[in-house]
C-alpha cells in the first residue's frame, strides 16, 4: 500500500469519525429512552397506546432507513411551514441533524422490540413477589423489571449498536461527510478503491470492536452475582 495515500486518507477519514460518532451517540442516548417508552406502551393495557407503538415499530422496521432519511431531509424540506419557521428550518435544513433524527426514530423501533423481549422474559413469580412486598409500580419497574430486562436484552442491544454505527454511513447520501462520505470522495478522487476500502473497513472494525468491548464490560457488571458461580 502506498504510504502517501495512507497519509492523505487517514486524517480525512478521522475527520469523518466525529460525524459518525455524533450520529451513533444520538442513536444510543436518545433512541434508547424512546425505545423504552415504546416498549412500555406496547405492553401497556391501553389498547390505543399498544396499537400505536406496534404500528410505529412495523412502519420503521418495514421500510429502509434510506427512505426514512430522504423523507425527513428532502420530503419535509418541501413543506412551506418548515421553511418559514426559523427554528424548524434550522433543524430540518441541515443534513446532519436530519440524519440524527432519522437514526433516533429508526433505532427506537428496533430497540423497542429488543426491550420488549427482555421485559417479557421476566417470570411472573418475581413480579408477584415484588407486589407482595408492597412495591409501587414505579419501584417495581426501577428495581425489578428494568434491571432484569436490560440484562436479558443486552447482547441483542449490542448488535443493534453495531447496526447504528454501520447505518450512520447512510448520512453520506444527504451531504453529511462522515467516514463513508469521505471514503467515497477518496475513492472517486484517487481511484485507489481497494486501499481506501481497507483503511475505512479497519476504522469501522475498530469502532465496533470498542463497542463490543464496552458491552462485554457492562454485561460483566450487570451479572456480577454470577461471577462466583462461573469461575
Amino acid at each position: 500500500m502506498d504510504l502517501e495515500l495512507v497519509q492523505t486518507a487517514v486524517p480525512l477519514l478521522l475527520k469523518g469519525l466525529s460525524a459518525t460518532l455524533i450520529i451513533t451517540a444520538c442513536g444510543i442516548f436518545i433512541g434508547f429512552p424512546l425505545a423504552l417508552g415504546l416498549a412500555l406502551a406496547r405492553m401497556s393495557s391501553s389498547r390505543i397506546a399498544s396499537a400505536t407503538a406496534r404500528a410505529y415499530s412495523m412502519v420503521f422496521r418495514g421500510t429502509p432507513l434510506l427512505v426514512q432519511i430522504f423523507i425527513i431531509y428532502y420530503g419535509l424540506g418541501q413543506l412551506r411551514v418548515l421553511r418559514d419557521h426559523d427554528l424548524l428550518w434550522w433543524f430540518f435544513g441541515d443534513g446532519l441533524r436530519c440524519a440524527m433524527l432519522a437514526m433516533v426514530l429508526n433505532t427506537a423501533a428496533y430497540t423497542s422490540e429488543i426491550l420488549r423481549g427482555g421485559l417479557m422474559s421476566i417470570s411472573h413469580g418475581e413480579l408477584e413477589a415484588a407486589r407482595a412486598c408492597g412495591m409501587s409500580p414505579w419501584v417495581r419497574f426501577r428495581r425489578i423489571r428494568f434491571p432484569l430486562a436490560i440484562r436479558q436484552a443486552l447482547p441483542a442491544y449490542g448488535n443493534e449498536i453495531t447496526s447504528i454505527v454501520k447505518d450512520s454511513s447512510l448520512a453520506s447520501t444527504i451531504t453529511v461527510l462522515e467516514i463513508t462520505g469521505y471514503a467515497k470522495r477518496l475513492m472517486s478522487e484517487t481511484f485507489a478503491v481497494i486501499e481506501v476500502f481497507t483503511i475505512t473497513g479497519i476504522l469501522y472494525l475498530a469502532i465496533n470492536f470498542v463497542v463490543l468491548m464496552g458491552m462485554k464490560l457492562i454485561e460483566g457488571r450487570l451479572s456480577g452475582h454470577r461471577a462466583g458461580a462461573r469461575s
Binding site: V59, P64, Y74, Q78, L79, K166, T180, G201, Y204
Partner: protein, 230 residues
Amino acid sequence: MLWDAGWGLAILRGALVTAAVGILGMILGMALGFTLALIKWARVPILTPLVDAYAAVVRSIPGLLIVYLLFFGSSEFVAGVGAFFGYQDAFQNAFAFLAGVAAIGLIAAAYASEVFRGALASIHKGQIEAAFALALPRRRLYSRIIGPQMLRYALPGVSNIWQATIKDTSLVSVTGLAELMRVAYVGAGSTKQPLLFFVIAAVVFFAITLASQGLFELAERRLNRGVKAG
C-alpha cells in the same frame, strides 16, 4: 398528474428492479452462505477461520461501503470494455445491476452463514450416524435428513435476512441503477415533489416486506406440519 407523466409506470418498473436485485442477491447469498456454513460446520483447518473472519468483517462494515467497493472497484474496467465495444450506456446499467446483486449477495451470505451453521448444529448427531448405519448414499443423507430439517430450523433466520436484504437493495441506488429509490429520487428532483415520491417509495417497500413476511409465515407453517409444538 403522477400517472400522466408516466411516473406510475416508472415506479412500478423500479419496484420490479428492486425485487429482482433483492431476489437474485438473496439466492446468491443463500448459496454462498450455505457453502460457508458447511465449511464452518466441518471445521476445516485453514478455511474455517477464514470464513469466520469474512463473516465478522462483513457484518461490521457498512453495506454502503461494500457497494462502493464493488461499484468503483470495477467500474473503470467495465467502462473501458463498454467504450471499446461502443455500448457504454447499456453496459453501465447492466454493470450497476450486477455489482448491486453481488454486493447484496455478499452481505446476505455473511449473515446466512451464521444462520445455516446454527441450523446444521441443531441437527441431532445420532440421525446422521443412523443414516450412515443404514448405508444411505451421501446425496440422500443431504436431501432427506439434513436438508429438510436444516430448512426448518433456518427459516426464521432466513426470513430476517430477506427482510434486511430487500431493504439493503435501496443502497444500490447510489450506483445509479434505476431501482425504486433511484426512480423516486429522479422523480422527486424533476417534479419538485420529494415528499410524495419518497412516501410512495416507502409504501412500496412496506408492501413488499409485509407480503414477504406473510409468505414466510406460510412457509414456516408448512415446514412445521407434523412437528409437535413445544
